[in-house]
Symmetry: C2
Subunit: 421 residues, 2 copies
Amino acid sequence: MSKLYTQMSREELMSEKALLEKRYTDFKAKNLKLDMSRGKPGADQLDLSNGINTVVEDYVVDGVDYRNYGVLDGIPSCKELFAELMGVEAKNVIIGPNASLQLMFDYISQCFTHGMGSTPWCKLDKVKFLCPVPGYDRHFTICEHFGIEMINIPMNEEGPDMDAIEELVEDESVKGMFCVPRFSNPSGIVFSDAVVERIASLNPAADDFRIIWDNAYCVHALEEDAPKLLNIFDILPKYNNEDMVVEVCSTSKITFPGAGVSAIIASDNNIAMIKKRLNAQTISYDKMNQYRHVAYFKNADGILNHMKKHAKILKPKFDIVLHHLENELGSKGIASWVEPKGGYFISLDVYDGCAKRTGELCKEAGVTLTTVGATYPYGVDPHDSNIRIAPSYPPVHELDLAAELLCICVQLAVIEKLTNE
Amino acid sequence: MSKLYTQMSREELMSEKALLEKRYTDFKAKNLKLDMSRGKPGADQLDLSNGINTVVEDYVVDGVDYRNYGVLDGIPSCKELFAELMGVEAKNVIIGPNASLQLMFDYISQCFTHGMGSTPWCKLDKVKFLCPVPGYDRHFTICEHFGIEMINIPMNEEGPDMDAIEELVEDESVKGMFCVPRFSNPSGIVFSDAVVERIASLNPAADDFRIIWDNAYCVHALEEDAPKLLNIFDILPKYNNEDMVVEVCSTSKITFPGAGVSAIIASDNNIAMIKKRLNAQTISYDKMNQYRHVAYFKNADGILNHMKKHAKILKPKFDIVLHHLENELGSKGIASWVEPKGGYFISLDVYDGCAKRTGELCKEAGVTLTTVGATYPYGVDPHDSNIRIAPSYPPVHELDLAAELLCICVQLAVIEKLTNE
């Protein structure tokens, strides 16, 4: 059993450091160029879906030519596919563009230009959003683009801190919140049933308070027994809150990022308001691609079976990283993490004030991490402790090296910190 | 040579009417169900591009995997393709989503939420747009969605009335104008060199006045000798007006409507502002589809040759309609039209106050026209005279019937009008 770094003497730390520096120098000599920065699928994962390109021979279905104009909200079979997968009715689904990010951006944009049966947000002095942290940088980028003031909400193993949220929504300038409820980006946790229930029962001061339920990893389990997420749309009616949640999902990490199909799921009211805007924004999204997806997967089971193939590729990659973390950082009191049962990330929290330095050391030795701080609004991690690890993209042998190096860098950064204090 | 209806006696008109009513009744007996309402390509036109679905075998190009995330503004080869086609530099091109309508909507939306280096339009009391009429209903829908006040600008055979435009842009609440400069929707005319020059030289009071140059039919000629359009980006610098024009185009009517590739072309300044928004809105548009288009066409000549095949299908359809118009309505003083050399429409102007009635008569006999009035802002044609004919979608034999019936209905409507006055 290792000794806690904080209980080591200066001499013990310096001798640890010397060993680590030797290993670090050896790594640098390898001239590595490794990337653990983005949640990109590996090429082998993309190969799993190549068949989708040639699966359709005839795009005329029930007399409708999917190569031509029309069908604003998505082809019926694709709406059915997502409805089955997400446990909702097809009438509450709109099939969107190639990725769900645009659905979220466009929805927030509509809130600003038109409101949601309310005053357009652009007419208000201040719009605030609650941001569970660590979180997804692109949610923060949308908020920043629209000048939304972001308020950090700490995440725990059950989801965001609900006490804080329940208090803050009493401010009517607090208009919304982005969440990744299953296999959260980056923490990997799944919102507990209790948290989902408390979210569904919120009573915000703002009538047009909106939760963007970004279910990006809804079917992205790494293990059969990964925790399930309650379907929030089953619970919202109990609290008369149907309009409060807008869910998005996509096939970006099922088929192809950038060439997938996205969907937005919402109450009848919200769907009507979104369609009103869509009617001015587009004639239809890409129905040929929608149909390819339907023809390839056929039904929700088709997707779930496909996801097992992804898991088979991804699980060993997560295991390698977790092995190194446990092996090098376990029981030293300098880092913590949750072992994720799905999703694309491992969220590593290191000793306060050491995350940026860890990122620098990694970079110097040829390993790119997600920009440290990016998991917080405005890129500012107040504790400088969170590092998002994205194990999916590098091949296994590169990941093995990168993860080991990361662990060395964490230890070096912490020792630097402790010995300078 | 026919006599002008306005010079006929009541008895002459009534005897004409009796003949027309007989023909109309015969038509009704056929129980037709024909559609000349939308500018949709026919199935035979769509078949021309089927090869695009299977042209690419490997999506990894120069080490970049087009199946994965990234490449915000379009793959280099697709930017080059559009740059060559439109006569601009690739750095001034962004490849967009499946259709250009969304590019236009999103651009106007950005003007409202963020402005263009100017006060966001949502902060202004009044935003007005100039609308050449007859025009494209979806441009008007975008304006209406954002509460933009629309001002009719009459079109003539050279383009919009430039005297009116030059006067109106002195009002700084006039913020923009949508145009279809080549084979205008619906009039079919091509803006003359003189008009393009006058547009490029405008000196609007609003610094952020923007012309959306919707070049939807840029390569959609029906004949080899169809009039060319000046490249407005060659002229704008002379007047220091590079930022005033934002051009869009797409392959919607080159390959597949709804599954094509769009592009936005703009000055360095405008491109930078659009990219800033895109960076929050999406990770990339569909690069696989972009690459399919590049692989299929290779270069601008590839597209131009492909368009000749479209013309071969479309030209006979336009000829049938024009034949009926000339044959039935020529020299009667009750209708006028311009023979288009490209595009998707024939714009028919009938005797004032008779367009709606013509539409009703057609509908009663089983022929659907574009909703009469739709070619004007708010759906209100002040003269009730314009009918947009879309000959592309029906098969030739149906079109032959529909065009003949339309001509009968025009004559009946005019006689009704003249004999009731």
